[in-house]
Each structure stands twice: as C-alpha cells, then as structure tokens.
Symmetry: C2
Amino acid sequence: MKRGTALLLGWVCCGLGARAGTHPCLVFREQTLASFRQEWRDYPLMERSVNRQIALADAALATPVEVPVPVDPAGGYTHSCHRSNAVRMLACGQSYLLTSKPAYREYVRTVLLRYADSYPDLGPHPARANQAPGRLFWQLLNETVWLVQTIQAYDAVCDGLTAEDRDRIEAGVFRPMVVFILEENAAVFDLIHNHATWAAAAVGMCGMVMDEPEWVEQSLMGSAKDGQSGFLRQMDLLFSPDGYYAEGPYYQRYVLEPFMTFALALDNQRPEIGIFRRRDGVLLRAVETLLQLSDADGELFALNDCIKGKSLRSPEVVAAIAIAHARGDGQGNPALQALARSHGEVHVSPEGLQLAKAVAAGGQDAFVRKSMVIRDGVDGAGGAVVLLRGGDRARQADPAGLELVFKATTQGMGHGHFDRLSFIVHEGGREVLRDYGSARFINVLQKNGGRYLPENKTWAKQSVAHHVLVLDERSHFDGDTDRGDAHVPHLLYAGLDAADFQYASAEDSHAVEGWCMRRTLARFEWEPIPGAVSRAYVLDLLEATGGVKTQTADLPLYPAGEFIHANFEYEAAPVLQPLGRSAGYEHLWVTGRSVNELPQTASMTWQQGHRFYSWMTCTSPGMQWMFTLSGAGDPQFNLRREAGVLLRVPAGESVAFASVLEAHGNYDSQSESVVDSVPSISGVEWVLRDETLAVVCVTTVEGARHLFAFSREDAPEKAHDFHWEGVCYQWVGNAFHQPHQPTLPSQ
Amino acid sequence: MKRGTALLLGWVCCGLGARAGTHPCLVFREQTLASFRQEWRDYPLMERSVNRQIALADAALATPVEVPVPVDPAGGYTHSCHRSNAVRMLACGQSYLLTSKPAYREYVRTVLLRYADSYPDLGPHPARANQAPGRLFWQLLNETVWLVQTIQAYDAVCDGLTAEDRDRIEAGVFRPMVVFILEENAAVFDLIHNHATWAAAAVGMCGMVMDEPEWVEQSLMGSAKDGQSGFLRQMDLLFSPDGYYAEGPYYQRYVLEPFMTFALALDNQRPEIGIFRRRDGVLLRAVETLLQLSDADGELFALNDCIKGKSLRSPEVVAAIAIAHARGDGQGNPALQALARSHGEVHVSPEGLQLAKAVAAGGQDAFVRKSMVIRDGVDGAGGAVVLLRGGDRARQADPAGLELVFKATTQGMGHGHFDRLSFIVHEGGREVLRDYGSARFINVLQKNGGRYLPENKTWAKQSVAHHVLVLDERSHFDGDTDRGDAHVPHLLYAGLDAADFQYASAEDSHAVEGWCMRRTLARFEWEPIPGAVSRAYVLDLLEATGGVKTQTADLPLYPAGEFIHANFEYEAAPVLQPLGRSAGYEHLWVTGRSVNELPQTASMTWQQGHRFYSWMTCTSPGMQWMFTLSGAGDPQFNLRREAGVLLRVPAGESVAFASVLEAHGNYDSQSESVVDSVPSISGVEWVLRDETLAVVCVTTVEGARHLFAFSREDAPEKAHDFHWEGVCYQWVGNAFHQPHQPTLPSQ
C-alpha cells in the first residue's frame, strides 16, 4: 500500500470546512458545469433525464418538509421520510446547479438545517437489530447511503449559502455523522465489505466537500491509514480480476454506487491516482460484468441473496453505465450506448451528457449478451460464473435465446447461498429453471421491518433451494458460511467458441465432506426443421464420488410455469407433508411422487408463457421422482409457493445424474395455436464413465442418436478415443459431440 | 320471423356452383378491390397488416403442403396441420387478391385439391369425444371454423381457377362439408348456441360463393327455414339488448367472428336485410360491450369459462373493430380508432382500410373504459354485469384505476359458472381479486387433448372458486346448469354518475333454495393527502336471509399476489388437508386458520406487483378466517396453485358480510422505496340492517368515520332517515354516504 500512501502525502493540512468558490467538486465541477448548462437540452436522453430530476425537485418544493424523530425500521414512516429527504435534496441540488433557481437551494438549506437541529441529539436507532445501528436509520448502512446522496446535494448548493449556514449544517450534520461512522463505527468502517464501501465513499466525499484531507485519506487507506482497509483495499479484494463481486449481481449493483461515484469524484479531484486504471481497470470491468449478468429483459440473475425484479434500469446501474462509458478506453463503447438508448435515460452528470451525445451521434447496435467465463476469487482462482448463450443469436429476440448461467463461485460471504455448482436457465426474459432468490420483502414494514426474513436462512440459502446435488439432506458445508468462504470450487474448462455447442466443467471437493462433486453443463442446438419453431437444449452431467456411503442423493429442480405432463406413473399426495426436518427440507411440501420403477428416461414437460420446456433424466434403479411445493414450515406465510421436483437416488459411494433440458414449441394466446408441445428428445443414457471420460447418448423421438463426450481434465490437446456398439470414436480436446450410427452386424 | 322469410323470397333458384366473374363476394368485392389495391400502402396501419398477411402467405409457399389423415385431438399434429392450412390458405387468398401473384392462387388451389381428394372418404374423427364430431377435427365446431376461413380463401381465388378445378374442389370439399353440417348435423345446426353460429356462417358463406341461395336461406332461417333457428334467430336470442353474450366475454369474442364476418358478407350482398340495424344494431353494440369487458391492458375479464391472456388484440376482435367502425353510425368512432391505433394493426378488408384512414386523419383520443350497466337476458331482465371504474380517471394510467366487475347475470349455459352475484377486481391491467377462469390448456395435446379438464367442472365452475356466498358447502343450484339457466338474478339499481362514489345492488332468490341473497358493491375514493399515493376502495355488503337453517356460510376470496400481513392470530397448518369433499371444496388445501376470536375488524394485506391491497371484514361471533390454496384432489396436477382465503361463519337463518377492499401504496422495485404498505382503513361495522336500509360505518386509522347507506329497493325518489349516536341522517335516493361526527354528550 506504499504507493497509495505516497499519493496522499500532499494532503496533510487540517481542513476548515467547505470554502465558498470551490464547489461543486464531486460529480459536477465548475469547469464542466457551464457547458453542461448550455448543452443538456440538445440531447433527448439528457433532456428527459434532467427534466425527471427537475420534476422530482418541483414535487419536493410542493411537499411539506418532515424530519421526524427516527422510530421505524425499514419501510416504516420515519425510515421512508429520511430516505425521501435524501433523494429530494439530491434532486434539488442538481436542479439548482442546472437552473440556478434559488428555491431549489433553499430547499436543501432548509432540510439540512432541520437535520442540524436534531441530529446531534439522536442516540442509536430504537429499531436497531443485529446490524450496526445508525441514528436516522435502523442500520448504519442506510445512514452511509443517506450521506453519500446528501453530501452531493450539499456540494451543489454550499457555494450559495452563507458561512453561518454552512457552519451550522456542517457542525450539526456532516461532522457528527462522519465522527459517528469513522470513530464510533471504526470496526465497520474497516471491514472489507459493501457496508464499508458505502462508509468510505460517504466519509471521503465529505472530506472533499468540506476540505478535510484527513477524512479522504482515511476513506482510501482505512481509519489507521495503513492501507489494510479502506476504499483502495476494498477495490483490491472485493472484486475478482474479471470484475465479479462475490456477493452476487444484486449486491454488485448496490456496491457499484459508492464505488463508481466516489471513484468519479476522486478521478475529478485526484486524477494522478488513476483510480479507474487500478488493477487493470477493475471497476470498469465490474460494470461490464454486471451488465452481462442480466437476462434478455435486463433483469439481474438471482444468484445468492437478491430481490427479484431488479434490473439494469436501476439508478445505480444507469449511473455506472455513464461513468464507465466516459472513463473507459476513450473510444466510446457501443454496448453502453445501446443500453442507454434502450433505457431512455442517462445519469445526470457530465459523463451522462457525453453518453447522451454519443447515443445521438451513434449507430443502432444492440447490447449483446455474450457467452463468457467470469472468474471469481481475488486471484481469479475461486471458480467462475460461466454464461452459455449460444453466440450472437442472443442478439435477436430469438426464441431459442436460452441463457444458461453456471455458478461455480466462491461462497460470497454473508449473502452467499450454499449452491456449489448450481445453474439457472432463462429464456427471453423469463425464468425457466429458477433460483428462489432471497426471502425478503425489502422495505415492507409488516414483513420483519423490511429486513431479511428468518426463511432466508432456513430456506433460501440452503442447498435444497438450488439446482445442486444434496447428499443425506444436508446443505453444502452444513450451512456454515465460514467453512464455505474457506474453500473454493475449481473451473476445469469451458468451451464457448461454437454457437451451437458450448460447455463448461467444474468441480468442488469441499462442499460435501469426503466427496468430490463435478458438473459438466453444455448448451446445444440442432438445425431446426424448416418451418419449425427453434429448439434449444441443455445437457447436465452431475456426478459425485466419495469414500463415505450416503443414504440419499437429491437433485432438486425448480421449473417456472405450469406442469403439463410426466412420462411415468405418479400419485398426487392426498395430504401434504413436509419433505424433511431441516436444511430447507422442512419448507418443501411433497405434492406427489412417482410410483413403480421409472422408465429408462424419465421426463416432465411444463409450460412457461408461450414456451414449453421438458426435463429428461437417465434413471437408475431405485430412483424416485418427487413433486414439491415451497411453503411448508412457514408460520408467517413468508414464502412464495413455487413448484419443484426432486430426483432422489439411493446414493451409495457414487452418484451420477445425466439429464437434458429442452426448450420447445410455442403457444400463441391470441390465436390459441400450439406447436411442438412434445419434446424432441426421448432418451438420455450413460455410455461411459471412467477416469478420463464421461460420455452420454441422447436419442430423439425419431430414433436419431447423438453422442456427447467430456474429458475429466483440462487437456485441450490430448487425444481421446472410445468404442461403442462397433464404432470407434477418436478426437482431440476436452469435448466432443457427434451423431451415433452403430455398425449393423452383417447379415 | 315472417319478415326474414319475405326478405329471402328472391333467392329460390337452385345454384350451379361458383360462377366466374362474380368473385370475390364476401369480405372483398370487385367494386372495393381496385381502390383497396391502390390505397393500402398509403396508410401505415393497413400497410403493416397487409404485409403481415403477405409474410404469412410467403412462409406458406416455402413450406411443404401436408394434408394428413385426421388422427389427433386438439393440439395434436394433424389437428394443427388442418388448422394451419386454413390460416395459410386465407393469407394466400388475401395476398392473391391484393397482388394478383399466381403463386398465391396456386397454393390455395393445390391445398384444396388435396382436400378434395381425401375429404369425401373420411368418416367421423377417430378422436371424437362427447361433442358432435367433425371429420377433419375431433369436433364439428373446428370443422365449421375451418370452413368459414377456407371459403373466404376460395372466394378470393376461384375466378382465377378453371371450371374443372372449381368443380373438383366444390364437389370434393365444400358440397360434402355443407351436407355434413346441414344434413348430418342438423341438430347442431339448429341450436341457439355459438357452435350453430359458426355452422350458419360457414354454410351461408358457402351458399354465397357457390351460388346456392337455398344454403343462404337455411343459414339465416334454420334448416327447416321456419325462422325458429338459424343466424337471425341466434342474433335475437344469444345477445341481450345491451349486446352481452351470456357465455361470457371469452366466448363473446369467439362468436363475434362468425357473427361479424357473415353479417359483413350479408350486408355486402343483401343490404336490404339491414343486418347491422337488426334489434337496434345489436351486433354493433355487442362489439362495443365486449371492448368494455376488458381491463386496462385489454385483457378480457375472466367471467365464466375462459382462457386467461386473451385480449382485444385477438384477431376476431381486430376484425370486429373494423367492421363495427365501418357499419356504425357513419360518424366514425374515436374509441374504435383509438384501439386500432394502440393495436398497430387493422383487419385486412375495405372496412379495415376505412379505419386505417380514420386513424391516419384522426385525433389522439384514448379508448376510455367506462362505468356502465350491461344488462343480460334476451329481454334485458336477466340481471347485468355492472362495471364500476370511477369515471374518466380510468382514461389515464391512474394508480387508482381500480376496476370493479360485478357479475349478476344469467347462468350462461354450458360455459356458465355457479357464481351468482360474484365480482372481480383489476387495477392497471393486474388481477387484484381474481376468478380462476376455466381449467383448460387449450390445444395442448398432453392436457386431455386440449379439451376442458375434469377440474373445470369439479373446481372452476363451482361456487367456492368464486367470490360468492356459499352455504353448507353446496354450489349455487347444486351445480345444475339447467336449474341455473331457468332462473335469473335481479339488478335492483346502479348509480354510476359520481366518479368518487359508484354503486350497484342486486339480488338472487333461486341460487340457494329457500334463501334470498343480496349484494351491494360500491367503489369509492377519498381525496388523497397531497403528495400521497392515491387509494381506492371497494365496499362489499353480502347478505342472505332464508327460512332454512344452515351450518356454514362461506365467503371465498382469491387475492392475487403475495401475502403480507393479517391483523389476527393464525396458525399455519403443519400438514395440508383438503377443506371438503365436494362442490370444489375438495380442491382447496387449508394452509392455515385463525385461532381465537377475530378482532372486530379482521384484515389482511397482500402485495401484487407494485401495489398493496387490504381486505377488511366486520367480524361476528364464531367467524373463522381460513387460508387456502387450490390444487388439492388433483391427480394430474391440472390446477394452478393459487392462494385464497375463506371467511366462514355459522350461518343460522341469516348471514351478512360487510367488507372493504383498499388499494394502497406503492413499491418501486428499482429504487426499492415503499410507501403506504399499511391500509388507511381500520374498521368496518354494521350500523343498521332492516327491511328498508343497510348502513355501515367505515373507520380510518386516524379515527375519522364515514357512513354508507343503501336502500333495499330501487326508489330513487324515496326519502330515508335513521338515527345513530345522536345524529339524524336524512336523504332521498338509493344510496347515501357522509362523514359521521356524533354529537358529544354535553358535559
């Protein structure tokens, strides 16, 4: 951290508070403001975005100011009031900068003076729970978010305030708040965690506005200024080299607000730090990685804790897009321009204006969601998320735009789920095989004060809530986050070059003690029959070997949509009982189960929107197919009722599931025409499983057979061969697929 | 029927088949075709619509023709093939008319000759079930639909065919098909039912194209030509004077295709009949009524049997809009123009062109969904659907655009549900309190061949699947359709003049033997607090009196969304059991129930999309609140799992539920801000229930009280008064509402 320390040596004098004539200094600066004022109306995206902020500011002016005594947890009245005040002050501050109308400045002044009167006397929040409490809010986190927004509002207006007002506001609000964060909550401030990033950004931006270089240095280097914590260390440790944030896309979006906003302010004031070039531009890569972690509708993939419905249209992402566009390679980025165009808005900032200009001048390229490997772990060796999307066809609203998300990542700390080697599938913005997300109604007062619900721990995080292998009804790492954080999975290889056949293979030797799990996922397409609706397929080989004998091995699946058909005998349960007693099993009702032996390939079809999906699994003796429904053991009705299935085999010392997911057909609700509601694949079988190869054969309803083979190790130049039904197959590389036409015995 | 008979006397000679030079004669005619060809590219709506048909025709040309031997039920391969052939022939026929390209004509010719080769030898369809079977399709209905489309395709091309081809096609396809419908299925042909309307339109249009006036006369007057059946009689009996079709909106949409298409052809060829003026223009009114029976997204309300997701964008409605626009009062209709503009397409016909022109020239009015009474019954005395929408605010995307649909109609024959005095609520295109619709996956082969599922009868039609009063777990009319058809409910009065207070009251004395049920529904709004999100309310007074003592009285409700909160103690069931044994109760799991006595006002809040909703009910001793989930007793997993509640009281000799539904608050998923997740109403209580009045008092969380009073009879000029808590209220009319401020006792 010597380099960082050296960079900051210039700032050592003690600050005296905001000096008039030096603001704004964070997002806007004097040198960019004049041209912004002249130009914003000329670019439709920016005009619309500014007008939205002005409308918000005007609405604020028309609403009585309330600064209530903090009482409520998240979602409650006082919580919402304080949250709204920050949003309104920011809108008024921006509107003042752009229009110079005194009413906007007066609003910010009035509200801040009200806070200055009350804040110093507040004790810890009465609704505090297990998180570090704030004073305005039940958790310190919300207080730092408030401060990140409010200091920007103050930055916008403070040159227009009297010295007396500035003193009152700084002495009553900002100084005590910084002291509260930096000194009273030094332990949080020095974490390597998203809460600490918000704290660092808040304190650092206060330091810039109020001319307190010490605060800036502490925000960058940690409270002890030793570089062991603080913003720079967080940048170094919280992202993988590919810009993946281990808590998952939902929190990556959240943490990008303080990272990108503070980095922008730093880059404006201290360009010599080169914050956007640090770690080869990891912040810029983090933005692009997040954008890729969304489905065709822009909704973020629900990995780890997340609230569903959060998309690239969220304000943090809109801001990040503009900043990344401006501070990237300088060539402009058509992908970011395409997103801004589809969003119809940009961040209100000089960077947003630059983006709006580029969009106005630019082409009509679409944002392309790509197949890619996103490595996890600070060194890139903590597994990966692999996105398999079938090449450029994802560019179109292709009915076969099946998106496969293979999650073989690190644990992700407290917001991580016990889902080693899991995957989810989306198509056309719809969930096909889904992750539950988190159990939380954020900011809804009646639901545990808007906090995480108890079922987040007992259900949403547990392995059985994911598409993973579960042995003996025990979650990975027995649900112990520390153990999970201590071990990483291993991505063996990925092959993403061919549009019609992509694959990845990963393994994990720690999640289940004494067992090594391996999963190989492939996405493939076959040339559709002329005139037919396109089909897409996922091949899933899930295997595990261990020295310890187990009783049950389960593969749970959560197909989104309505059940259509199963090809085996089953019985619906006359009375619903929970499936188990712990590890999430207590939250699953058993709604039915297969009776008798399953056919060689068991299959189930469901309908989601206008599409049909089928899951085909190669069965083994004793395998049972259960139908489940979430919502058991749920005294407050906190859980959504979502149907699932659970494939169970008596495990023994090894287990191997081979399955195919097929997306097929179409239902047109207006014309009520239905095509291809029946899958094209009728059989999946293991051909070979040994120490070097896994080979399966997939059979179509017309009887065509197709072989898929995968290496056990990453050896792209190694030669393989095997014999089956009189044919000898030979190839070089990790994966292989080919039609199988056995030699017929001569007659 | 003498008038109809006289009108047809001119057509008595026997036809000789289609004569060259007289076609097209149905939708297009020689005199309209030339100008259509010149103009269609000039109007964007029509250009797009024609290009879509041409694209469909071009796709047909590129696809091998298949005319398979009929084998499959609905949704199966051969079913879909024959359906597609009709759609493709129609597209090619239209494309030929507009472009004169021989390839389109040749396609129709080729396909029809293939049918001519095979059709005469077909017997009844092998997948026939309990409906009259067709030959190409499992039911005759599909065959008549096929014929309505195909005869239009033939009409388009036949002048370009050789006499020999025409003879082969007519002798092989159209004549045997007409004979099959008209003679072999005379019993169906002479029904007063949607199946017979399709049959009449098919036969009548064949008669026009093939110069068989006898067929036209039979189609209009019934097979015996006595006017006791046939198209005209169907027009007279199947719609109410307000243009309501008793089977409900879903089937109204369906039956409008043959009604409007055949009427258009008739109006073109036999304008002297004045078909669009018959019964004061009932067909035109039926179109406008259907359009009003849709929510803010254009989705049809799910009354009686219906498949959800069907909207005003369905092709039948698009055609009906154009025809009604052209054949209406001649002034053009801005509402129809607004719909066409929002649909972005029009019917490919001279009438569609007229509409496209009007849209191109017209204003920017939106389609307004109105509050209205839609009477049911052929004489208008069979009850009504009453739409309560709060006036012109429904015009905007108003968050308080709560739409209340009060269904107090006739049974609706075989597709009717046992839901006397039911209601549903939508807001902003979302279901709030929902009807299950029908239990059917239409055209999905694996689901009972695409037919209605057994659960349509055992669950979807039963009273407990609706928001109605159910006594002793027995459905209305004990689930007997004939009994239901024999008795009608009675709309007492409706008051729709004020935007902020609208109401309707209806009663039924037959659905539950020995009992008289009455329901009064009101929709009201209060001035929102400045800056607050608007709220809207529904007041529901459901009462019944009877001479027979009963054990239980149930009010089931199906709130769409996620449970948030209940204000009473309840226990979730550790094991799920079905609620009952019959009448739909066997399909409900009991997921929980209230424990101990309920508070005076019991309430529950749920979230649906970005809005919160609460149901508040005045409780009575012994009342129990149960939580339910559909899907019990469902061996094939045919049902969707939808949560519900069931309010149960020990009935005795009378029962009275007083409840308020409140729509409140907002959840913004991108900013995660939540406002007003708690309802503003905390109390609902009965003030008075006697032979002349029903009075309730509604209390807000701030303690304000508001009285609502409703008359027992329709007497808009009658004076009423009552005293309560020292205040005397007096008014004239059916309904009354006023704040309640009791006189405080003097100290």
